[in-house]
């Protein structure tokens, strides 16, 4: 059981859970290393820098130690990049460092992202022993040709093997990431992928529409004439995934996320609840004491900043306060199935022309003190309206 016995298990889309997350303490650790670059990825990743694992982890440790004291952590999330590419013992050391600095709650969710390609039972056992209890595999698809078009090297069978070994090692929460809308992937192929994923008895499923980000290889290909993802097809695929996941007993609690009760990602729930959270590593973001800040994105700049020991690796920051903070609260909360407490921003939206049109079109509704998006695929229409609201 991920949550302690004394905590009642919330339904994943319950407002109480969504709102309670605002009080959680979460931390993000970025592991930027990848064996190769995926054509659609625009995250802060490096390839061919495996010789720098130690230097990087030293830098991470220094950054953790320099963070002002904070609450005990309820959730830690190792994202990437590919955290699983690193020796599990090194990841364990980072976790230890966090524990030493802030303390980890006894029921803390300790999650990492992993690539089915490099996952082994041995790794799983070591990581589990170190305290990791949740793993999220970048499965992307169970169709070989879709995996190829996404530039992924693993085979569908490796996904299954990875999930089974994670279970065997005692991970209490297992997630798969899938991507829909790749070139040549129709609804039938997508259905097959989702079916196979759910057939593994997942605790959590994330389905992302393929997004064409500027600067990526995918962007270049499409600007050179390759077909772009079709939003109508993606809508069909999302609806199919939602139906299949629901039938399998998962509950959608965010635009792209489904979970069994007790398994929504705590780290993400905290972020969407606009909780303060910590971030460490290359390009990591954080929100603390009303300031959003982010680290250097260039690998060497980040390392140098920490090696010199003098400067924080902060590349930029912004104050999130007043009306901006209120609108951001809504913008983040609207992505959740539980919606968000209306507050002053919700009142302004309800009174605005945009808000009335959205309500009329059935995109949003106001239920007592709660604002919800009823058509998740149109969330951004509501978000844009929110972010344009003038202060009252």
């Amino acid at each position: 059981m991920l949550l302690s016995e004394s905590t009642p298990i919330d339904w994943p889309d319950s407002p109480e859970l969504a709102d309670r997350a605002a009080a959680w303490a979460a931390a993000y650790i970025h592991i930027p290393f990848c064996s190769r670059l995926c054509p659609y990825c625009d995250f802060a990743v490096v390839t061919g820098r495996d010789a720098d694992f130690d230097r990087y982890l030293d830098a991470l440790g220094a950054e953790i130690d320099s963070e002002p004291a904070w609450k005990q952590l309820d959730a830690v999330y190792f994202g990437g990049g590919t955290p699983s590419i690193i020796e599990p013992t090194l990841l364990a050391q980072v976790l230890e460092r966090l524990d030493k600095r802030f303390g980890l709650a006894t029921d803390a969710e300790i999650s990492l992202e992993a690539n089915p390609e490099d996952w082994t039972l041995a790794k799983a056992v070591t990581l589990r022993a170190a305290g990791f209890n949740r793993v999220s595999f970048g499965a992307q698809s169970f169709e070989q040709r879709t995996l190829i078009s996404l530039g992924r090297r693993h085979r569908p069978q490796q996904i299954e093997a990875a999930v089974l070994s994670a279970r065997e090692a005692g991970f209490s929460s297992v997630n798969l990431d899938l991507i829909y809308g790749s070139a040549g992937e129709d609804v039938a192929r997508w259905t097959s992928s989702v079916d196979q994923a759910l057939g593994l008895g997942l605790d959590h499923l994330s389905c992302y529409g393929l997004t064409v980000e500027p600067g990526t290889d995918l962007y270049r290909r499409i600007s050179e004439g390759a077909p772009a993802p079709d939003p109508d097809l993606q809508a069909d695929q999302w609806e199919r995934a939602n139906a299949l996941a629901t039938n399998a007993g998962l509950v959608r609690y965010e635009v792209s996320n489904w979970a069994r009760p007790g398994h929504p990602v705590r780290y993400n729930l905290a972020v969407w609840a606009q909780a303060d959270f910590l971030g460490f590593g290359l390009s990591a973001h954080r929100l603390r004491d009303g300031i959003r800040s982010h680290n250097f994105r260039r690998f060497d700049t980040y390392l140098d900043a920490l090696a010199s020991g003098s400067a924080a690796p902060i590349a930029g920051s912004e104050e999130v306060s007043g009306w901006d903070r209120e609108l951001e609260r809504l913008f983040l909360g609207l992505r959740r199935a539980a919606g968000v407490i209306s507050g002053a921003g919700g009142a302004a939206l309800a009174a605005s022309m945009d808000g009335k049109r959205l309500e009329e079109a059935g995109v949003i509704d106001f239920d007592r003190d709660r604002l919800r998006v009823r058509k998740p695929l149109l969330t951004d229409a509501a978000s844009r309206a929110v972010l344009a609201l003038p202060p009252p």
């Binding site: 809508a235 780290y267 993400n268 951004d380």
Partner: protein
């Protein structure tokens, strides 16, 4: 208090540049009528009129090589770019003829586009002769032919000439035969020139002296001077180009404009060498400029006759007409805050373009703007371009329309210039639309294709005339609305660019016209309404609904796009509701970036116009209303 400046005050008399003292002395000499020749050059665009004018200026020393810019007669940038002359000008040339005598030759420039045919006719009225210039490779074009007929009908001596004889593709014999076919005479009367190389140019002015008659005015008669053009100078106000027919115009004279009955003082008279040089007097047959201190160009009408206030002529010179806009379009600033700037810009443009007319117009879709009348489509394009380029305005132009005449049940006749003004069917009996007589010259091989085009444009009463075995002149009556927009482009594409076109108004005729409205989500969009022939209504409706389906972004709900005549729907398309509008993910590391992305998208939406509950991008109005054929 009015301070009258006399023409002799040369120091202040800089129109644009100061004339040299020598030029002034030459210009100021009294000129005998027998020593004057006034002529113009009639030529198709690109047939070399401006280059020839440059050669003549060089040859007569009117302008030094150092001062020589190419095509000095075309002063506006836009003209340079388009290769068309918009405003006529006049230049005084000094020529010592083969007979040993000195002559003053006034070269009067003529506009080269059908939109400006009235101005052409006034320029012709200031001349006794015209040089009909034809490209030795391309032959006579419809525009040239129309102007040549105008010149012949005005009693001008027309001298045919071939230009560009240096071109490898030149076919002087064929084009000579065409010119003879049009004007009569013999091949020996056709001059052969190359304005580019200068070949034949030296002999040209001798031919002008020999063949163009001297002006035949009466020096003792009451003053009659023709205003054949005008422009606005920001320092001097309105500058008129005048041709004295009878009597003399002196600086300081009290003068009267006979059509407008306005009286003014001739503050300054002068000649253009091409620099402005003040003179004491312009005698009969002389061509020059006049400044009266009038600041608004609309108060001085091209074609008006100037006479003396004290001893007026009894009869004005013939041919005066009010400039009449043929094409109307609504101009709306994309940013509603620019309305006042648009008004100011139009005011300024009318300072030197009396043919431009405008009145405020309100559109539910586009807000506040102006209904603007133009001489033709080219004129419209020039004005729009000037508004955007010189005044930095971002405009939406509604579909151009002609002026219709509506017979009301009451028996009244009402002219309407906008589809919005069309009375409901219950209040009207019939609608007349303007027709033009269209003249097309085309290589014979394209006759079938050209006639097909004309018939598709409701052409009537056709006739055909062979200029030569290879080239044919077609004449038809065609509704102006069918000609004015894309007809020329289609004609060009059907004839590989070889056909040429001219047209002139030929009155109104009744037509079976209907108003087609376009509705977005059941709300009519006034900017897209059009008055079209009943047979073309379905095609217009289909075109507009299809264009708009492509141009209107998908929104939260299905948007029906309909075209309708009254309550009857004639075309329908649907913009399907948007199904997916969401970022795939937004986690801790994305929050700031994703939020900014959405904020930027929202900014973009601010440029949308709301039509009912439908968001329509500005670009959709511009693109849907573009004139060109698909």
């Amino acid at each position: 208090m009015v301070i009258i400046l006399w023409g002799s005050q040369i120091g202040t008399a800089d129109l644009r540049t100061l004339g040299s003292q020598m030029a002034h002395n030459l210009a100021a000499q009294m000129v005998e009528q027998s020593q004057i020749r006034n002529f113009c050059i009639i030529a198709h665009i690109d047939h070399g009129k401006s280059t020839l004018a440059d050669r003549l200026l060089e040859q007569t020393g009117a302008i030094s090589a150092r001062e020589m810019r190419e095509q000095v007669l075309d002063t506006m940038d836009l003209e340079r770019e388009r290769g068309i002359t918009i405003k006529a000008q006049a230049v005084r040339l000094h020529h010592r003829s083969g007979d040993g005598r000195a002559y003053v030759i006034n070269l009067i420039d003529t506009p080269g586009h059908v939109d400006f045919s009235y101005e052409v006719s006034r320029s012709l009225a200031a001349c006794e002769g015209a040089l009909l210039l034809a490209d030795a490779a391309q032959g006579v074009q419809a525009q040239t032919l129309a102007n040549a007929y105008l010149a012949v009908n005005a009693g001008l001596e027309v001298i045919p000439a071939l230009n560009k004889i240096d071109l490898p593709a030149a076919d002087p014999d064929r084009v000579t035969q065409e010119l003879i076919g049009i004007l009569g005479g013999s091949a020996s009367e056709v001059l052969a020139l190359s304005a580019k190389t200068g070949e034949g140019v030296p002999a040209l002015l001798d031919e002008v002296v020999r063949r163009v008659p001297p002006p035949a005015g009466d020096r003792e008669a009451p003053l009659r001077a023709l205003v054949f053009d005008s422009y606005y100078d920001s320092y001097r106000g309105v500058v008129c180009y005048v041709r004295v027919v009878d009597g003399s115009l002196l600086a300081g004279d009290q003068i009267r404009f006979m059509a407008t009955s306005e009286s003014h003082t001739a503050d300054e008279v002068g000649v253009l060498t091409p620099k402005a040089v003040p003179v004491h007097e312009l005698g009969p047959g002389e061509v020059g400029y006049l400044i009266t201190g009038v600041k608004e160009i609309g108060r001085i009408k091209v074609g008006d006759t100037i006479t003396h206030a004290r001893r007026p002529a009894s009869q004005a010179l013939p041919g005066y007409a009010e400039p009449k806009p043929m094409v109307f379009s609504g101009l709306f600033p994309t940013d509603g805050d620019d309305f006042e700037r648009l008004r100011e810009a139009l005011e300024k443009l009318t300072l030197n373009d009396a043919s431009l007319q405008y009145e405020p117009e309100t559109s539910r879709a586009l807000g506040f703007g102006f209904r603007v009348g133009f001489l033709g489509l080219l004129h419209m394009e020039i004005i729009r371009e000037r508004l955007e380029r010189e005044y930095g305005l971002d405009l939406v132009a509604t579909a151009p329309s002609v002026a219709f005449r509506v017979h009301l049940n009451s028996g009244d006749l009402r002219e309407i210039r906008s589809p919005q003004d069309l009375p409901e069917p219950d209040y009207r009996t019939s609608i007349d639309e303007p027709y033009v007589q269209v003249m097309i010259i085309t290589p014979a091989e394209y006759i079938g294709s050209v006639m097909e085009l004309i018939q598709s444009r409701r052409g009537l009463e056709g006739s055909m005339h062979y200029l030569s075995p290879e080239r044919v002149e077609l004449t038809y009556q065609v509704p102006l609305s069918e000609v004015v927009f894309d007809f020329f482009d289609l004609l060009k594409s059907r004839t590989k660019g070889y056909a040429s076109l001219d047209y002139e108004p030929s009155g109104y005729r009744p037509s079976d016209l209907v108003k087609v409205d376009v509705l977005l989500n059941s709300v009519p969009v006034d900017a897209f309404s059009a008055i079209v022939h009943r047979d073309k209504a379905a095609a217009y409706g289909k075109l507009m609904t299809e264009r708009l389906r492509e141009l209107i972004p998908r929104q939260l709900f299905d948007i029906p796009i309909q075209a309708a005549i009254g309550g009857r729907i004639i075309a329908r398309e649907t913009v399907k509701a948007r199904r997916k509008d969401v970022l795939a993910k937004c986690y801790g590391g994305d929050v700031t970036r994703k939020r900014k992305l959405l904020e930027r998208q929202k900014e973009g939406k601010k440029r949308m116009k709301m039509v009912g509950s439908v968001e329509v991008p500005q670009e959709a109005f511009v693109a849907a209303l573009r004139v060109d054929a698909d």
